[in-house]
């Protein structure tokens, strides 16, 4: 179940990334794509009848696989880092072009010639 959901989320994310023109929405879609890979990793470690991988003294139990969980912790932080930086760049672009429409920014950037290009702010 989590596996299939993660694939579906990946699909939704890609579609939004492709079809929505607003850069902020594109970033949200990217966040969803990254989140889907995290759900997938947690999903493969999951076992229905197992317990969270934290030992309680005196108890014996089967645990779910802790490794994907540990990997995912790093992945979440990396995704946050990417998102924060991407958002900063979007803000800079907005200050310059007064739009978040990716298509319009594309047109504007290709219109500007290298010579008259000035550093942003």
């Amino acid at each position: 179940m989590p596996i299939i959901v993660s694939f579906v989320l990946l699909g939704i994310g890609i579609l939004a990334l492709v079809l929505r023109r607003d850069l902020v929405i594109k970033l949200l879609a990217l966040g969803l794509i990254n989140g889907s890979s995290i759900l997938f990793l947690v999903g493969i470690g999951n076992r229905p009848s197992a317990r969270a991988p934290i030992h309680v003294p005196g108890e014996v139990a089967t645990f779910v696989d802790p490794l994907p969980q540990a990997l995912v912790l790093s992945a979440i932080v990396v995704n946050f880092a990417i998102l924060a930086l991407a958002l900063v760049f979007v803000m800079i672009l907005v200050e310059r072009y007064h739009t978040t429409d990716a298509v319009r920014i594309e047109v504007e950037t290709s219109r500007e010639s290298e010579e008259e290009e000035t550093p942003c702010l």
């Binding site: 989320l9 902020v24 879609a29 759900l39 999951n46 969980q69 540990a70 979440i76």
Partner: protein, 263 residues
């Protein structure tokens, strides 16, 4: 079971969130999705991941998005500093025009941001779309100064001019002040005010004359009023702003504000 329900909800929330046309709704939707995922991780025996996802994915990321695009937009005001109208006091901004603009921004659901710039830069910034409204002791001589539009005055004032120079009539130069208010202040202290400004309005004269008496100033004839500047292309913004000021005047709030800040 609870896990399955949570997981089934996630794609639905994702589709709803990503098809929103308002960015804020989309962001809040994705924040909600992160919380759902965190809950699902908890059910899937991954408490560490759930905590991290809830704190970073849901809280921190959403906070940063919202900070980056707080509310739906921003009302950018460029202004010269004038005590009583719009001036910094410590880390706050106070004054009559500030109160008007803040109320206006609130009524429009916009977020107010004020940039202090020299007065002569104000018209240029508005005309080039760098800011929405110009404020800070602006006294338009006519109602429209192409490509800008002025609102009807919200407070009557007087204009004082130094003796004419260069043979030009002083009234033409009336709105041309130079630099920040602090610059004027230091010039006034050194008695050099007339070299940088050709004319001054009542609010500036009052606050400058506290330091040293101002000499050589003549009051100009005619009615003058403080107003806001907007771009001609923003007719809707002007209409809303005028309507807001009118409503303030009708309710008597404007008089109260004037009494509080100017007299």
């Amino acid at each position: 079971m609870a896990g399955h329900v949570l997981l089934a909800l996630v794609p639905i929330v994702a589709v709803v969130a990503l098809t929103q046309s308002r960015r804020l709704s989309a962001i809040i939707g994705m924040g909600l999705l992160s919380f759902l995922l965190a809950a699902a991780y908890l059910v899937m025996h991954a408490p560490d991941v759930a905590i991290t996802e809830a704190t970073i994915g849901a809280a921190l990321v959403t906070a940063i998005y919202v900070l980056a695009i707080r509310r739906t937009g921003r009302l950018t005001v460029v202004a010269d500093e004038v005590p009583g109208l719009l001036a910094r006091e410590g880390d706050r901004v106070v004054g009559l025009e500030y109160e008007i603009l803040r109320g206006f921004a609130n009524s429009q659901g916009l977020d107010l941001s004020i940039r202090f710039v020299p007065l002569r830069r104000v018209p240029w910034l508005i005309a080039h779309g760098e800011a929405d409204i110009g404020a800070g002791g602006i006294i338009p001589l006519t109602e429209s100064i192409d490509p800008l539009d002025a609102t009807p005055g919200h407070l009557d004032t007087g204009v004082y001019a130094f003796d004419a120079r260069d043979g030009r009539p002083t009234s033409e130069l009336a709105p041309d002040y130079d630099g920040y208010f602090s610059e004027l202040q230091s010039k006034a202290r050194n008695g050099l005010l007339s070299s940088s400004a050709t004319s001054l309005d009542l609010a500036r004269v009052l606050s400058l004359s506290r330091g040293a008496p101002l000499e050589g100033l003549d009051r100009l004839d005619g009615r003058h009023g403080y107003a806001f500047l907007v771009s001609k292309e923003r007719a809707d913004l002007k209409r809303e702003l005028v309507r807001y000021i009118e409503s303030l005047r009708h309710s008597g709030e404007l008089d109260r504000l004037v009494a509080r800040f100017v007299q």
